[in-house]
């Protein structure tokens, strides 16, 4: 289950960027054609976050579809398959997108009395 390794990497990336800040929400983007199973990431997230700053954080996962276009009949459709078949029966289908594997944004709480723990390389106010 490669999702375990990927989830450990997610936790490592977030802790690396936010340090000791307490994380309460994580939003990921896992495309339908990425080869990563969101439910397996949710399962792994519950296993690897206890004892970290992400413990108890809500995990949100966006799952964008891929865009397909049939080279035989020209039909355009969205798909959750790497090798989709067109409704016309053709397997000659061009597929793009749907392979996203990203951490989108993270909600965290700065500690009482420490001021804003906004990381130096973070984007603007959320």
């Amino acid at each position: 289950m490669h999702e375990m390794a990927i989830t450990q990497s997610i936790v490592g990336t977030i802790v690396g960027r936010l340090g000791a800040a307490r994380v309460h929400r994580v939003r990921l983007e896992i495309g339908k054609l990425s080869g990563v199973v969101p439910d397996a990431v949710r399962f792994a997230f519950e296993l690897v976050t206890p004892g970290t700053t992400l413990e108890g954080a809500a995990l949100e996962i966006d799952e964008p579809f891929g865009d397909a276009r049939c080279r035989s009949c020209g039909r355009a459709f969205v798909t959750d398959e790497v090798l989709p078949l067109c409704a016309c029966g053709s397997a000659d289908v061009a597929v793009s997108g749907g392979q996203q594997l990203r951490i989108r944004d993270v909600g965290y709480r700065s500690e009482e009395g420490t001021g804003c723990a906004r990381p130096a390389d973070a984007a603007g106010p959320g």
Binding site: M1, H2, A5, I6, S9, I10, G12, T13, I14, R17, L18, A21, H24, R25, L28, I30, G35, V36, V82, L83, A91, L101, R102, I103, R104, D105, V106, G107, Y108, R109, S110, E111, E112, G113, T114, G115, C116, A117, R118, P119, A122, A123, P125, G126
Partner: protein, 235 residues
């Protein structure tokens, strides 16, 4: 919003700006960023030393190790060869490779189902391939997980054997869609099994249009010259 820092926190400012509140930060980081960074380091180190790394991936039992034993013998005197062997347990494959006279190192992943760039980097420190070497990385036998992990390799070779199903490329498209070469192994068994090479190749090319294919028999030697010639094209 916090009036002092403008961070979107739920409380307004307090004296000394000593409040606790929530923030959202756009990380926009790749989920595989840590692995990809290490893979890029491996790739740079290979380029610097003229090492060509080939990542061999397949399901268990496709004949990867037998193919490697034969391949390294074919390359004796041609160029230096070293092998990193990935398996969950045992050093059996490394023993088979070292018996050919080639240096090999075993990486046991334990519960892990794939090699990652960090494991390869660690293995390389011990194996220390000579400059200009051809490095084979025999991944863990698995047609799913290794596909997503860049090791810093120059090329990815997916091996199928004719004792597997013809439709495997359709069932495991993630593995096939990044292949630089498909080796169809055990072709000596074709008279005895129901395997359609042409259809298998067609399926593989749906996942990876135009992928070159070499039919081999690691036990009998068919196709070995063509396979070795392909390896030479890698530099």
């Amino acid at each position: 919003m916090c009036a002092t820092c403008g961070c979107g926190g739920t409380r307004v400012t307090e004296p000394g700006h000593g409040h606790g509140h929530t923030h959202t930060v756009d990380l926009e980081a790749d989920l595989l960023a840590a692995n990809d960074l290490l893979a890029a380091r491996n790739r740079a180190a290979f380029a610097e030393q003229g090492i060509v790394a080939v990542n061999l991936m397949s399901s268990p039992g496709s004949g990867k190790t037998t193919l490697l034993e034969r391949t390294v013998r074919e390359l004796v005197g041609v160029r230096p060869v070293v092998v990193l062997e990935g398996d969950q347990e045992t050093v059996l494959d490394t023993e088979r490779i070292t018996a050919t006279g080639v240096r090999a190192l075993q990486i046991n992943t334990g519960a892990g189902c794939h090699l990652d760039a960090d494991m390869v980097a660690t293995g390389l420190r011990e194996l220390a391939p000579e400059p200009g070497a051809l490095l084979f990385v025999e991944n863990v036998g698995n047609l799913v997980c290794p596909a997503l992990f860049d090791l810093g390799e120059r090329a990815r070779v997916v091996i199928m054997s004719v004792t597997e199903g013809t439709d495997k490329p359709l069932k495991y498209p993630h593995m096939f869609r990044t292949a630089d070469l498909l080796l169809v192994n055990k072709v000596d068994l074709l008279p005895y099994v129901d395997f359609d090479v042409a259809r298998c190749v067609e399926y593989a090319r749906r996942a990876r249009p135009g992928v070159p294919v070499v039919e081999v028999s690691a036990t009998r030697g068919d196709g070995m010259a063509e396979w070795v010639a392909w390896l030479r094209t890698l530099g």
